[in-house]
Subunit: 168 residues, 2 copies
DNA sequence: ACAATACGTCAGCTTTGTTGACATTCCAAG
DNA sequence: CTTGGAATGTCAACAAAGCTGACGTATTGT
């Protein structure tokens, strides 16, 4: 113990040791694998990837969103998103409609097929999240979210907050 | 509010609503981007990627590990790891030595150059983690880790636990 | 009229993952 | 001592998903 810490550091900052931080880093790595594992299995059957999942998720969360807005949420280039979006539109999972006020914009919605896949994916992902929440308990969940929120970049947090309380 | 919840559910399980779970899912997504952002910048300069970072991290954590063991920690194929490992060895960041008992095995260590890069990467990643920990506080950190641990797959948790308390 | 914006697309490149096939080396069991 | 299987490495081919750069079109705002 006491990995060369300064004595004045005091008990209250023990959670900031390099050792504690490293554990958190590894926990993030391993947990993220679990986090994506279940949806990945469903996606593989339909020969989609995580990029499709993300697009579907955020179109579901932001019905009618424009391509540009989705781009900024996902943090990828339009070429990268376009490849994914094109297959989703071709496969009839996403509908793209010309904007009413601004006809340059395309508004994105899930079709009923798209909504069905979205449900399958988020059910799978929620099941694991629910099990983890239940195992850890409500106080742990609050802490979990606090740390994650503090770990985000500014613009990610902006997007996160913007969607956060939509249904409350 | 009350998103169609069963009345008998009770106050104590409010944290398990689909809404709460979805927030957790999105928090994971956005936070993971922040989590990798700083190391990614350093890696880009040296034209390495995240795969190199992961290899370096776990070789640092498990000096002398075999390729097979590293494979099972990282959860990728040997061909995928080998490509990364080869460049790291060529660039003099990783040393691969033939096993003493079992000469089929290769034991992996960081060279001093490798250790230097490892330090730069983990310093950057720890800085952000430290800021997040500090912002959220010690109780939140405990909850954070509990939820992440509960989210891991069995074998991931095994690897995680095996490395967890090495220095305590 | 003109510049800027939103979107789509083409071409080409990179990283990182995958399978499958095959050679080498070596340990261990028969 | 031989042989089967394990650990490793390598070749080839491929896919997903990111990137840059360039270009075209429609629309909007100045």
């Amino acid at each position: 113990m006491n990995d060369g810490m300064h004595p004045q550091m005091g008990q209250s900052l023990l959670f900031l040791t390099d050792e504690q931080l490293r554990k958190g880093i590894e926990a993030m790595f391993f947990a993220y694998r679990g986090f994506t594992a279940d949806p990945d299995r469903i996606l593989a059957e339909k020969s989609y990837g995580r990029a499709h999942h993300r697009a579907i998720h955020f179109i579901h969360r932001n019905p009618g969103t424009t391509v540009n807005n989705l781009l900024s949420i996902l943090g990828v280039t339009k070429q990268s998103l376009n490849r994914v979006l094109r297959t989703l539109i071709e496969d009839g999972l996403v509908a793209s409609t010309v904007g009413k006020q601004d006809k340059r914009e395309r508004h994105l919605h899930l079709t009923s097929d798209g909504a069905e896949l979205e449900r399958a994916l988020s059910d799978a992902q929620r099941d694991r999240m629910r099990a983890a929440y239940r195992a850890a308990g409500p106080d742990a969940v609050i802490g979990f979210r606090q740390v994650l929120e503090a770990m985000m970049d500014e613009d990610a947090r902006r997007h996160y907050e913007a969607m956060k309380d939509r249904t409350e």
